[in-house]
Amino acid sequence: MVKVLFFASLRARLGTAEHCLEDFSGSVAELRNRLGELFPDWQAPLQAADIQAAVNQEIAAATTRITDGDEVAFFPPVTGG
């Protein structure tokens, strides 16, 4: 199982903070595509150019591999401080 978290404006736009996927393995880019196929409304917000990804709480690239048990997060540019 892969746990996917959404934060801030992306969470608000998708209307959910978390989604769990059974049986996923592939890259971050492939995970974005898969989620867009499952939920067509999510496609545009998830593919937005400024949406970043983290895998196991570390910033990840589009090519970063995801395997079973990983925690993935998608979020807009940070604005703390």
Binding site: A8, Q57, P76, V78, G81
Partner: protein, 151 residues
């Protein structure tokens, strides 16, 4: 030597300064930064703020930023506090305090920590104000500030 705290409770700058200085006889320089909630942003009146974060990742991210600062400068103590949750205008959001034997190192490290925090620590601001609730947009200027630290 590092104190990193993500918290809902307010902090007191005087207490944080005291912790940086207690039994610290060798660092002559202390540089501090405090970020507070302003009453406007992008020209729109703001009445308050909610700060969201990514709990599992936040402290890891802050710890990495502080560790990287230590590889660049000779630092004594570092204290980094960031609040999450609801805050009113004028409340303090973030505190960064750095001590060093050298003034320039203290200033540079304090600014470096803030510049990186602003672009990579997973915090997001939701402002409440005249026009309802608005997610604060990231600033290009914050990304540009990072360039000065590129080796």
């Amino acid at each position: 030597m590092d104190f990193i705290d993500v918290r809902t409770a307010p902090f007191a700058v005087g207490d944080e300064y005291a912790a940086l200085r207690a039994n610290n006889r060798s660092d002559g320089a202390s540089a501090l930064f405090v970020g507070s909630v302003r009453d406007f942003n992008a020209g729109v009146g703001v009445s308050g703020l909610a700060l969201e974060h990514y709990p599992g990742m936040t402290e890891k991210s802050l710890q990495r930023i502080v560790s990287d600062a230590r590889t660049r400068w000779e630092l004594g103590r570092v204290r980094l506090l960031h609040r999450v949750g609801a805050m009113a205008v004028e409340e303090d959001i973030v505190f960064v305090g750095v001590t060093s034997p050298h003034r320039q190192a203290a200033f540079a490290a304090c600014q470096y920590i803030m510049d990186r925090l602003k672009t990579e620590a997973p915090f997001w601001k939701l402002e409440s104000g005249e026009t309802g609730d608005t997610w604060v947009a990231a600033r290009d200027s914050d990304r540009r500030e990072l360039e000065k630290w590129a080796r």
